[in-house]
């Protein structure tokens, strides 16, 4: 790199092209897997498998493309709180629906 690196403790890492490329490759592979699996009839298990792959994919997007991996405590904790709230919202609603 031609420019000298200025020390900026506040800054997230600059993601290298190679790393980003590896992530997109993984995302495309996972997409192929999820489409392929959808053609196999596993009955009920198709749903959790599809959701599991979707979660893996969105984690990759979140951690690297959205550089959550390199964020500070404030953003990490607030994000996890949002997900926790989402889980409460979904699980409590299902609690009601499933045992009605």
């Amino acid at each position: 790199m031609k420019q000298e690196e200025r020390p900026e403790p506040d800054d997230p890492h600059v993601m290298g092209y190679g790393k980003l490329f590896a992530i997109i490759a993984a995302l495309l592979v996972l997409t192929c897997i999820t489409v392929a699996v959808s053609y196999v009839n596993l009955g009920f298990y198709n749903v959790p498998i599809a959701l599991l792959i979707a979660t893996a994919k969105s984690s990759l997007v979140l951690l690297f493309f959205m550089h959550m991996k390199y964020e500070g405590t404030a953003i990490k904790v607030s994000f996890l709180s949002t997900i926790a709230f989402l889980c409460i919202m979904i699980s409590f609603t299902f609690w009601d629906v499933a045992f009605r």
């Binding site: 790199m1 031609k2 420019q3 506040d10 800054d11 600059v14 993601m15 290298g16 092209y17 980003l20 490329f21 992530i23 997109i24 995302l27 495309l28 997409t31 999820t34 489409v35 699996v37 959808s38 009839n41 596993l42 009955g43 198709n46 749903v47 599809a50 959701l51 792959i53 979707a54 994919k57 969105s58 997007v61 979140l62 690297f64 493309f65 959205m66 964020e71 500070g72 404030a74 953003i75 607030s78 994000f79 949002t82 997900i83 709230f85 989402l86 919202m89 979904i90 609603t93 299902f94 629906v97 499933a98």
Partner: protein, 198 residues
């Protein structure tokens, strides 16, 4: 007279907005889940009626555009302005292509008399009606987000070209990127729920 830029603060602000988006779509997914629990058969039939190929193509398009947006931030920070301009333009074009596919897809469905309040859905089983109702609401709202994301990227592109976004000040591009990635992430869940459920 240099003012310090609070980049973490700027990103945190964007994230706070994104949390509300997560809950918005989370609520819709919850609605989907509850009705899927109620009408699993109709939902499976509805899912089979959707074009898996178009869905997969759109997934790949959005993933690629997310990659180019992420790469454009790296490019701007490494002072390769031309590469950044190319990558952002490519992302916006991906968004256009996504919307064209969506238009074709919706058009085909509407042509087959499948749209909210259509006779086929009104007289069909309630589960199918709900499935396609949710399909139009969720993909429609997601489509609106794609348009907003493209607008944000277009503004960032202008700022990159005229130098207002540069290696020292790139928060506008970074936040537009975060929004774009969120739209991508939502699609990552929409895709299996609507197109791949058996």
């Amino acid at each position: 007279m240099e003012k310090d830029i609070d980049r973490t603060g700027i990103r945190l602000g964007m994230w706070l907005f994104l949390y509300s988006e997560i809950i918005l779509f989370g609520g819709l997914f919850l609605l989907y889940a509850v009705y899927f629990h109620e009408y699993p058969k109709n939902f499976a039939e509805g899912g089979k009626a959707l074009d898996r190929i178009i869905g997969s193509v759109n997934t790949v398009i959005l993933l690629l555009s997310s990659f180019t947006v992420a790469a454009s931030i790296t490019a701007i920070r490494r002072r390769s302005k031309k590469l950044a301009i190319f990558l952002i333009t490519f992302s916006i074009l991906c968004g256009c292509l996504f919307l064209v596919n969506k238009y074709v897809e919706w058009g085909t469905k509407i042509h087959h008399d499948i749209f909210p309040n259509s006779a086929t859905l009104q007289n069909g089983p309630p589960g199918t009606n709900i499935f396609f109702g949710l399909y139009y609401v969720i993909t429609g709202l997601h489509g609106l987000h794609v348009i907003v994301g493209m607008t944000l990227l277009a503004v960032s592109l202008v700022f990159v070209i005229n130098g207002r976004v540069n290696e020292d000040r790139f928060s506008m591009l970074e936040n537009s990127g975060l929004y774009w990635h969120l739209v991508d992430m939502i699609w990552i869940f929409v895709f299996p729920l609507f197109y791949l459920v058996l």
